[in-house]
């Protein structure tokens, strides 16, 4: 049995010799976004003849991820990549990878370890997403609007960064004012409830809504309709994520704009992995390519949306 295993191991290494072996440790499958992220990476690798993927699911546990990375090191893969579950506690295992001479590419999330321990981080830039939303709104409202804001979960990175990015832009427009801001916990029901109270307090005073994610915007749209105003017309709405529901709302004319938070970073990761093996230099942070979609594009793009 042991001999058989050794043989099959040997055989696998021989067969994969001319291929780049990428060991990838995923966080888990906690959301649609994450599932799309996994699919994108698997597909991108499958479509590239130069790379072979060893995939491991950590089921939201850091210890599983560390175990997976150690086994990648033992197997002698060419490149290790992972989405860290948490920010801290990676230094030891990253040092082991470095000692073994295996470059590491982080995806999607940061780690609190020394920059020299990994090649680069490829992921979403939440601040930039907030900036894009701010820029779109400033232009759509001609720099003049009373804005209400639905924040994400208090203290979460996307909520903090998206708010910061949005404010960086609108502070340049003295007539763009955030008149109310409150957390809607990233959910439809809270988004609706909070928007209801915004409408009771401010009513027709509200010109625009900035929502930290699409789901809260979808809830808010219902509140606006029940109040008797037209979402997308009486109140312009911009949100972030680019999920299917947002495109449905745009097709119905109820949402004006969604800024994509793109999980489909597979193709970019594949390019980076090849580059690393070919000895190219990379900056420590590479933003994912993220688009911004407005109503007129919605119908056309809808069928292509994967999540």
């Amino acid at each position: 049995m042991v001999i058989f295993l050794m043989f099959s191991g040997l055989f696998a290494t021989v067969a994969a010799q001319d291929k780049i072996v990428l060991g990838f440790s995923q966080v888990g499958a906690e959301s649609e976004w994450r599932t799309a992220n996994t699919e994108s990476i698997k597909n991108a690798v499958a479509n590239d003849p130069r790379i072979e993927l060893k995939f491991s699911d950590a089921q939201q546990k850091q210890q599983n991820q560390i175990k997976a990375i150690r086994s990648f090191i033992a197997q002698g893969v060419d490149v290790i990549s992972f989405s860290p579950v948490v920010q801290t506690g990676w230094t030891t295992v990253l040092e082991e990878a470095k000692a073994a001479g295996i470059p590491v590419v982080l995806t999607d999330r940061k780690v609190d370890s020394d920059e020299s321990l990994y090649v680069t981080l490829v992921g979403s830039d939440f601040v930039e997403e907030g900036r894009k939303a701010g820029a779109w709104l400033a232009q759509a409202m001609n720099g003049q609007a009373n804005i209400v804001e639905l924040q994400g979960t208090v203290g979460s990175a996307p909520a903090i960064d998206r708010k910061a990015g949005f404010e960086q832009i609108i502070q340049h427009f003295p007539n763009l004012k955030i008149i109310r801001t409150q957390s809607g916990d990233f959910t439809r029901s809270k988004g609706k409830e909070v928007m209801e109270s915004f409408l009771k307090a401010e009513g027709e005073n509200i010109d625009a809504l900035f929502s930290h994610n699409d789901d809260m915007a979808i809830g808010a749209i219902q509140a606006i309709e029940e109040y008797g105003l037209k979402p997308g017309e009486d109140i312009k709405i911009v949100s972030i994520d680019g999920v299917r529901g947002a495109f449905e709302a745009m097709i119905q004319g109820k949402l004006n704009c969604t800024v994509e938070c793109n999980p489909l970073l597979g193709p970019q990761l594949v390019e980076i992995v090849k580059g690393v093996v070919d000895g190219k230099e990379f900056p420590k942070y590479i933003p994912v390519k993220e688009n911004i979609y407005v109503q007129s594009q919605a119908k056309e793009v809808f069928s292509e949306r994967k999540y």
């Binding site: 957390s183 439809r188 029901s189 609706k192 915004f198 009771k200 789901d215 809830g219 529901g245 449905e248």
Partner: protein, 351 residues
Amino acid sequence: MDSVKHKLIKFRNSKAFTPLLALIFLFIFNFFYIDGFFQIEIKDGRLFGYLIDILNRGAPLMIIAIGMTLVIATEGIDLSVGAVVAIAGAVAASLIGGEMQITPAGEIVYETVTTVPVAVLAALVVAAVFGMWNGFLVSSLKIPAIVATLILMVAGRGVAQLITKGQIITIYYEPYFVIGQGYLLGIPVAIFIVAAVLLIVGLLMRKTALGLFIESIGSNDVASRYIGIKEKQIKFIVYIFSAICAAIAGLIITSNVKAADANNAGLWMELDAILSVVMGGNSLQGGKFSIVSSVIGALVVQTLTTTVYAAGITPEVNLVIKGFVVLIIVILKSDIFKEKLNLLVQRGDRV
């Protein structure tokens, strides 16, 4: 004179006293700090205003609190209600189904699968089965309620996610929206549902011996068994009832936001429900209970939420303020505080 005073003292010692006092204080605050808080207008034939919002948004919590009251009265607790909210919503939404499709001709069509009664009934039946599971663990296997229901609290959300396949299911079928956003005679349908549940349970508890049996079990279950009360069956039934209440709440919530979100529907609602029951002056040790007080407790919780939103308080301090108000209410209703208050009143009488 004496009889009026006697009634006042009786009222002060009743369970409804503290939550009502808290509600009145919140209303007074809102009267001064929130414009048009008491204003109710008629808009498109519907009543419209903060007070209506509180009743409407508070409906799911009020219903869950009713079920929770009965469980707590038997000296139990049901931590799984939030998860059952998610399961019921997921069952109903996935049965009604719904997907927006664009035909090759560019038309937008919505797909639905079953009718409303089928979906509603299925959700209630599924919830009842989960209630039986809780009831079985507590009454037959004698597992402490906090542990028994914790199992479903954790696993239930997973079940809901399995049903929805981890996606948020959007509902497009118009008739289903009546439950959570419909209006009857200008009043939200959800409020009628609360009234109906309250009426049915109230009659069952006060016009039959069931209420007395529940109180008896909560006070002393061994003694109750000896005098011939079917302790096991009644405990079994209250957990089923609690789960059905949670399912009704789940239907209202999914209908209201037109979607079933397995991750977030009913999240932490069990805690709000327990809080409502406790603020309603009901003891966690079981025994005498008041459903009306729990409902008022639920209204206090919802009024607090609405107040925080309407007053424009920054989100970072939301929970701190809520916690502070709850602290004050709990202190007000503590026995030691009541004793001090009574002493003070008596002293006043002597002077």
